[in-house]
Amino acid sequence: MKHKIVFGSFEATCITIILITTQLFLNYPRIMMETAWTAAWILSLYISLVALILFVIIVKLYENFEGKDLIDLGEFVAGKAGRIIVGMIIMGFLLYITPVILREFSENIKIIGLPHSPLSFVLMFFILGMIAASYMGLEPIVRVSAIIVPVVAVGYLLIIAGSSRYFDISRITPWLGSGPYEIFIKGLPRISVFAGVLLVYLLYPFIRTKKNFKTVGYLSILFASFFFFIGVLAFSLIFQYPTGTESFLPIYQLARLVEFGRFFQRIESVFIIFWVASALLHLSILLFLTAYVFKKTFQLKYYRPLILPFALMVYTMAFFPHNLPSAIKLESYFRYFAWMITFLLPIVLLILANAIKKLKKNEEANE
């Protein structure tokens, strides 16, 4: 029964794309613009490239550990203690970001569409969706993502296409924005936007083969980079640097510009559907992972009894930030430091694991 759930690389790619790119609907274009000014699109391309290179390294290091996720690696390196440490780190990572994202999405939906509803009410809808999805398990979440992601992607491209008539190339000059140092050195920690890649390491036992692992990793990073790039580019082509950094919900601002003829002028509400669908998927997989990682770390038999307590925790923690700006601040911290867990932790673990494997081999050879 252990790993009976197996799904294809398409489904895994879809869910990873969602986990990486949902921040596009939150603050991503603005964060890029704050760091690199008019050169936000260069920064977006640059960090995508760096993330891809780091992933290539990780794939190389992973060569000998087919089908093992990070927690298994932790166990391989340092036994039970290693497993628990790695598991706790990932849990901390998940429990930090889930309430923040939940809060941000709920606040945004409240602002866009439900100004009179209390926040707790809006949150409740999200949390109910998350609980239902996590209860049904990984397989349904992943399958739903295979259906929803293409639809959301088309909707997103429609927003970009619909707003394209306001593009003005002069808005992205000066070309290098805040300068090469700011972009290429100071902007480096921004690879944390690819924090969602963590999912690929955790899904490894489900997608099983090396080939799938590579496909899912590369495809999701490439697609996410593409969506990031066009989003940031469109945003900076429409909103000039100082104005853009003050804009709330960048992609929503783009959606507001979309109009098809005289009759359909305010269709941005329709995009709430895309927003909420991707947010639900994103949050569901996060909640599922929290319970799943906890189960795996402490070698429990079932993850389902953990869902309700974790959901309650996430729901409560979502109220910790005083207001939306403080939640955004919390997310921006995350987007600065998450690379340590997404890229540094696996690299360190894999180097150690490879070293230990070599040592063991040598010992066996000596004996």
Partner: protein
């Protein structure tokens, strides 16, 4: 009190799930073996067999040599003379100068009298005198070989076998001095002839529908498929009703595991009476609580034949004009058999209209509520004025107004089915008046709302599958509530939950949302949202894991290969 506390506790506490092995449709050539169902599942029916009636031992009793004993037994079994429609006719046979008493037993009305008279009674009573060349000493052999000119005669040693035959329109023959009985097939009950299907009408394509007689139905399918590899495997379901069912599949196409699983389920149904295939469907499906239909019920032999040819199985039941097809995906339930018969370019239009109808029937009321209550800015100004003007006089909030009209519509729909034929048109008039004119005139509903309810209703009739129509009718009310609670947020959460439900639902090991989630191979031929031209449908659906995946060669219209040469030559000449 304790009971309530326990049930509330059960709701919130975690119970260890029972380790149930779910059926997974494996590939035929796969090395992995199916879980050994026999070990754990066969115990269940055995246990429940305990309540079998006590007569069963007697039924297995052997037929006696003495006619008087047999007569007594049969009279007791059939409660003669209380039972009015059973006919017991005693007579004498003269065989080789001996006079032997005998009797026949059959149900009046279920059998063909002429056949009994001319092919059973006449030869036995009159023609047995004729000097027949043959030297059988045994009376049984003599009777069977020479004086029963009947095409289906079963010889049985047990009462049970004869009784089963008699119950199913046969004629039992008991003769003194031999410990066997004959059962002749003389079925001849009144039945509906093959007519147009009532619930699945199409314009282009065959117009035959199934009837209530099993053999006619299997013949209707065999008539279309005409393949000796088409297997019609017989089962009886129902301990008392002994309803005959047939499992249809093509031996060298259908996945063997699928056939084995259906066979296992059919053999392990333990109920007393089975009346209709609607009941059989509920006994065969995996989850009774899922809103998604897991078998497709169809009245059309051509539909069944098409599905069987594609590697599925069908179950036909005596007494029901609906065959069950499995496994079935959600997308297939949206398709009508007509889609295959009309030309390729037209299918897209038909299917688009159908999908649109489904979407409207599902979401339109919910979206209307969401937009009018939460997202008014979406509506263009002129339309806002129009809606507002039409709603000005209506005293209810829009949700109440909508629910009122929807309930009214559901009422008319339900009553329309139950209403006796002659007063049918009255309902139409009342419905039109209530839903249309009067409701608006009385300021109970706004005209725009009437349009919405009407469009929703029409949309729901575009769903070709009856069961799926129910699914969407139920969901529609959910979306009304969600839309009223929190606008598009609620509707999206509803869509998310609905897709989770669809994705999780399985029909004989196949997820309902195939081929989208899980995504299956997009090799040529498997049905997607739209159909391919018929010559491009080269393969059977990937998810069915059939034994023969290929349906036709890459070039199925061979004439097209020679075509350019000939055409060119002609042009040059």
């Amino acid at each position: 009190m304790n009971k309530y506390i326990a049930s509330i506790k059960n709701l919130f506490t975690f119970k260890e799930p029972k380790p149930i092995e779910q059926f997974i449709l494996l590939e035929n050539a796969c090395d992995e073996k199916q879980p050994d169902h026999d070990s754990n599942d066969n115990t269940k029916p055995d246990d429940s067999n305990k309540y079998e009636d006590t007569d069963s031992d007697k039924d297995k009793a052997k037929i006696s040599k003495k006619l008087t004993e047999n007569l007594k037994y049969m009279k007791r079994t059939y409660s003669i003379p209380i039972n009015g429609d059973i006919v017991l006719r005693e007579f004498d046979i003269v065989v080789k100068d001996k006079t032997i008493p005998a009797f026949i037993l059959f149900y009046d009305g279920m059998t063909d009298r002429d056949v009994i008279n001319s092919a059973i009674l006449q030869p036995l009573m009159l023609l047995s005198n004729i000097d027949i060349k043959g030297d059988e000493k045994n009376i049984a052999d003599f009777v069977k070989n020479h004086i029963l000119p009947q095409n289906q005669v079963k010889v049985s040693e047990k009462y049970e076998d004869v009784i089963n035959e008699i119950n199913f329109g046969g004629c039992g023959i008991f003769i003194d001095g031999i410990d066997i009985a004959f059962a002749c097939d003389v079925k001849g009950w009144e039945h509906r002839s093959v007519e147009r299907p009532n619930s699945e009408q199409i314009l282009r394509g065959p117009q035959e529908g199934f009837t209530e007689v099993l053999r006619i139905n299997t013949a209707l399918v065999r008539k279309i498929i005409k393949d000796e590899k088409l297997i019609v495997e017989d089962f009886t379901v129902g301990k008392r009703s002994k309803t005959a069912c047939s499992l249809l599949y093509i031996k060298d196409i259908t996945n063997e595991f699928l056939v084995a699983e259906v066979r296992r389920r059919l053999e392990n149904i333990n109920i007393d009476y089975l009346i209709d295939s609607g009941e059989l469907e509920q006994l065969l499906e995996e989850s009774s609580y899922s809103l998604v239909p897991q078998l497709m019920a169809t009245e059309r032999p051509d539909n069944v034949a098409a599905h069987i040819a594609n590697g599925k199985i069908a179950v036909i039941m005596n007494g029901s004009p609906f065959a069950l097809v499995a496994p079935v995906t959600l997308l297939e339930l949206f398709h009508s058999p007509e889609d295959a018969y009309i030309r390729y370019p037209y299918v897209h239009l038909i299917r688009l209209v159908r999908y649109l109808g489904v979407l409207l029937s599902l979401l339109l009321p919910g979206i209307y509520i969401a937009i009018t209550n939460f997202h008014q800015e979406m509506i263009p100004t002129d339309l806002v004025f129009a809606i507002e003007a039409s709603r000005e006089q209506v005293p209810f909030p829009s949700v109440v107004e909508l629910l009122l009209m929807e309930v009214m519509f559901e009422l008319i729909r339900e009553a329309g089915i139950r209403i006796p034929g002659p007063i049918g048109p009255t309902l139409g008039i009342i419905g039109a008046l209530i839903l249309g004119q009067a409701a608006v005139a009385a300021n109970i509903a706004s005209p725009i709302l009437i349009i919405i309810v009407a469009v929703t209703g029409i949309g729901s009739f575009a769903i070709p599958n009856f069961s799926l129509g129910f699914t969407f009718r139920v969901f529609r009310f959910g979306y009304i509530f969600l839309g009223a609670l929190s606008g598009f947020l609620g509707i999206t959460v509803g869509l998310f939950l609905q897709s989770l439900m669809f994705v999780q639902s399985k029909s004989f090991g196949i997820p309902a949302s195939v081929p989208f989630g899980p995504k299956t191979s997009s090799k040529k031929g498997s049905e997607r949202i739209f159909r391919l031209p018929i010559w491009k449908q080269e393969r059977r659906a990937d998810y069915l894991n059939t034994q023969k995946e290929k349906k036709q060669p890459k070039v199925s219209r061979k004439w097209i290969e020679d075509f350019p040469k000939k055409g060119g030559d002609q042009n040059e000449a």
